[in-house]
């Protein structure tokens, strides 16, 4: 099993969710986060004084998936979240040792 983590633009969140549900993903964890990549945030102006704001708001999605689905899911997220402009985000995959469903005690694939 793998943990797929994606950091995407907030306005792409609904599209990504729909695409993942259509594929058959049954659950995910979503959080509002902030951070920056190479483009480094944005500038705000208050009474003519400019402030460089390093952190940009993003949505982080975390999904635990079967090994066999990993590539498809990464592909769906990448394709759906892409605008072609700077700041589209990142997707990364990490290995997971075990998963337990708290309600029943089922493990690994049965727990997804």
């Amino acid at each position: 099993m793998k943990l797929v983590t994606a950091v995407i633009k907030p306005h792409k969140w609904e599209d990504v969710r729909e695409a993942l549900e259509t594929f058959g993903v049954t659950g995910m964890t979503v959080s509002e986060v902030s951070g920056y990549g190479r483009q480094k945030g944005h500038t705000e102006v208050y009474r003519g004084a400019e402030y460089d704001i390093a952190l940009v708001p993003k949505i982080r999605i975390e999904i635990v998936v079967d090994d066999a689905d990993t590539e498809d899911i990464v592909g769906i997220i990448t394709k759906t979240a892409q605008t072609g402009r700077i700041g589209d985000g990142k997707v990364w995959v990490s290995p997971i040792e075990t998963v337990v469903r708290v309600r029943t005690g089922e493990k690994d694939s049965a727990a997804l």
């Binding site: 705000e44 102006v45 009474r47 003519g48 004084a49 400019e50 704001i53």
Partner: protein, 445 residues
């Protein structure tokens, strides 16, 4: 202002003119609304850790100044002159002595005029707080507010607002010089701006000024505050007509128009300079326009009022950047908006006064430079007096009581350190646990 008193015939059921009295009561209440408006306006501009302290500085000033005004301030401002038009007799109306009897034929009760004028002092002192954000000892601020009212506001109000009437002798600007200031361009705006600059210089810059971001924490509060200030400003300016009359109507319209053109001018500067027209710029432009029209609202035509607002919005939008160039920390731009805006309006009156509205024509209306010269003298005298006395007072308080908080308290934020409160609690649990020690203030199980 007193020379604008309408000589109304007494109403049938009362010795006072009830319509004028009703308007002045309303106007006074509107001016009071400017204090919470100012608290919101300033509160939104500071960082999260100091919003309550900022608001408390304004509310605290309201309480202290009003008390001092009744005890002695009004008497210094509007008592019989002690000589040279410099100061009124402080003992004449001590504690509003001798003012409570109804005067037959008076257009309104004198206590109402005194309360209305007291609220001008409140706003003037409240404005100064904007220069002192995030680093001022609250107790010392209250002492400063009381002493500044007596030493600076009341004498300057005497100079410009106290007119000769019968045996009464008033201040030098109003009667000898002949400068015009309808609702407080000198006594309120230039005065508070100069004092803000003086005390900001004595206190020094906030820790991290020019290096750390100190952007406003809540621009919706700023917009709410701006709206309340604008609303209250109608009482400030149109109330200064001291009657429900034609002058009040013209002043009302001029106040409205100057706020509008101030907004448009500030946004134009921002759009050209920074690429964006901001809400903060809109709120600031409204206030700049209102500041500038305050002295001139009873002397200019509606077109003149629009020009005053335009000039103020544009010039103040450029002036607020001075503190970064000159490296003084006038935190919320009291100098850039109120001192500069007050100067624009006071001097603009010398250019744009029209005899269709007031007693004189300004330079641009064919009246020559005479009135302009008078306006410059009044503005310069107020600026100089306020700067020097405010700085001396601040230095005295700094040496005795201490005017600035400790560095660690400044970093922690004055809301928590001074008031034991925080403005916003966005956690479900509030991050707080009740303690059951049974001491004063603790929660009981």
């Amino acid at each position: 202002m007193l020379d604008l008193l309408p000589l109304a015939a007494p109403a049938a059921a009362s010795d006072t003119a009830s319509g004028d009295t009703a308007w002045l009561l309303t106007a006074a209440a509107l001016v009071l609304l400017m204090a919470p408006g100012l608290a919101f306006f300033y509160g939104g501009m500071v960082r999260v850790k100091g919003v309550l302290n900022m608001m408390m500085m304004v509310f605290g000033a309201l309480a202290v100044v009003m008390v001092v005004w009744v005890l002695v301030g009004y008497s210094i401002a509007f008592g019989d002159d002690l000589g040279g038009g410099l100061v009124g007799d402080p003992t004449q109306y001590l504690g509003f002595k001798g003012m409570l009897e109804e005067v037959p034929g008076a257009p309104y009760p004198i206590t109402l005029f005194a309360a209305f004028q007291g609220l001008f002092a409140v706003i003037t002192v409240g404005l100064i707080a904007g220069a002192l954000a995030d680093r001022t000892r609250f107790g010392t601020w209250l002492v400063f507010a009381a002493l500044w009212t007596v030493l600076v506001y009341a004498p300057v109000a005497h100079w410009i607002f106290d007119f000769n009437a019968g045996d009464h002798v008033g201040g030098w600007m109003a009667n000898e010089l002949g400068a015009l200031d309808f609702a407080g361009g000198t006594a309120v705006e230039i005065n508070s701006g100069a004092a803000g600059l003086a005390v900001a210089l004595v206190l020094g810059r906030r820790a991290g000024f020019g290096k750390e971001p100190m952007k406003p924490h809540n621009l919706t509060l700023v917009m709410v505050g701006c709206g309340l200030l604008w609303f209250g400003w109608f009482g400030f300016n149109a109330g200064s007509a001291l009657g429900a009359n034609n002058t009040a109507a013209i002043v009302f319209l001029n106040t409205l128009l100057a706020g509008c053109t101030g907004l448009l001018a500030w946004l134009t500067v921002e759009r050209l300079r920074d690429g964006h027209a901001t809400s903060f710029g809109a709120a600031s432009g409204v206030v700049a326009g209102l500041v500038a029209i305050t002295p001139s609202c009873g002397a200019v035509t509606p077109v003149g009022a629009m020009l005053v607002g335009l000039a103020a919005g544009g010039i103040c939008a450029l002036a607020v950047g001075l503190k970064y160039t000159l490296k003084y920390d006038d935190s919320l731009d009291v100098v850039g908006v109120h001192l500069v805006g007050g100067l624009v309006g006071t001097i603009g009156l010398g250019l744009l006064a029209s005899s269709s509205v007031t007693s004189v024509d300004g330079l641009l209306y064919g009246g020559g430079a005479d009135q302009l010269g008078k306006q410059l003298v009044a503005a310069g005298a107020t600026l100089g007096y306020s700067l020097v006395v405010s700085a001396l007072l601040a230095l005295l308080l700094d040496k005795t009581l201490g005017f600035r908080v400790e560095p660690e308290d400044e970093l922690a934020g004055l809301d928590l350190v001074v008031h034991a409160e925080t403005a916003y609690d966005l956690h479900v649990t509030g991050g707080a646990r009740p303690h059951f020690g049974g001491g004063p203030g603790s929660m009981q199980p």
